[in-house]
């Protein structure tokens, strides 16, 4: 018997993001990815991610045509959708999955997290390898843009940890 416990300060269980060229690197990468896949088959870690990816796909399908909002919105781009999938898979644990997935009229996708009435954080993905973010943390406001490469940008993770702590 096991009990699911919320993980609030995980180092993360994500795929290998570094680059290597040796045979040893490939072997280690395969082993590590098997461990990650086994974790994702678990009820605690795998199910919330699977459900979040399903919701994301539904939003993508609903908003993949012109004028999905009745106000001449652009269709959600495949680039934005796959960037969101990539981000979901890179998040260290289900605790960090967003509360809301929202299509934007410019073809981007917005992910939002809430904690109470005055603490919220949102990012926008457009398929251009960048994350536009903004947040309100009580009296403090932040906004900016960061490069989205092989891992979740440090600034985004710090803000999420700050919000969810």
């Amino acid at each position: 018997m096991s009990v699911a416990i919320t993980c609030t300060d995980c180092t993360g269980i994500s795929y290998v993001t570094g680059k290597g060229f040796s045979a040893a690197f490939e072997t280690l990468k395969e082993c590590y990815e098997k461990v990650v896949n086994d974790f994702r088959d678990t009820e605690t870690l795998g199910r919330p991610l699977h459900q979040a990816l399903q919701s994301l796909e539904e939003v993508f399908k609903e908003c993949s045509e012109d004028n999905w909002d009745g106000y001449n919105a652009h269709p959600m781009t495949e680039g934005a959708y796959y960037e969101a999938v990539r981000l979901f898979e890179m998040l260290p644990s289900p605790t960090f999955l967003p509360d809301e997935v929202t299509p934007e009229p410019d073809g981007s996708i917005s992910l939002e997290w809430y904690k109470g009435k005055t603490r919220l954080f949102a990012i926008s993905l457009s398929g251009r390898n960048e994350i536009v973010y903004a947040g309100i943390f009580g009296p403090n406001e932040i906004h900016g843009t960061v490069y989205f490469g092989a891992s979740v940008p440090k600034r985004v993770m710090e803000n999420l940890k700050d919000l969810l702590s």
Binding site: W68, Y71, P105, L120, S124, V132, I136, E141, H143, T145
Partner: protein, 93 residues
């Protein structure tokens, strides 16, 4: 969030709750063919206090646009959050 620099709104000051929902059904639901879940009410003064403006854009009657959004999208997001925090949400029964 704005689209092409504008956010579409309806001016509802001085009209009844029933009339407000009717606007939603007539001009929003019909164009999107989707159910109406709720609405967010906010006063024009709050919008203007945040450095934005509201200009009438009819038809349809009472339609307006929020304009004056900054070019930078992250700043737009921050302003939209501020407005959302100050808006009053009404869930559709």
């Amino acid at each position: 969030m704005p689209h092409k620099g504008e956010t579409s709104v309806f001016r509802v000051s001085g009209i009844s709750d029933i009339e407000i929902w009717h606007i939603g059904e007539k001009y929003v639901v019909s164009s999107q063919n989707k159910p109406l879940f709720g609405r967010a009410d906010i006063t024009a003064s709050i919008i203007m206090d945040n450095g934005l403006d509201v200009i009438p854009q009819e038809p349809p009657v009472k339609h307006a646009n929020i304009i004056g959004w900054p070019e930078d999208k992250s700043k737009q997001m921050e302003m939209a959050m501020q407005l959302a925090l100050k808006a009053q949400f009404h869930k559709k029964d």
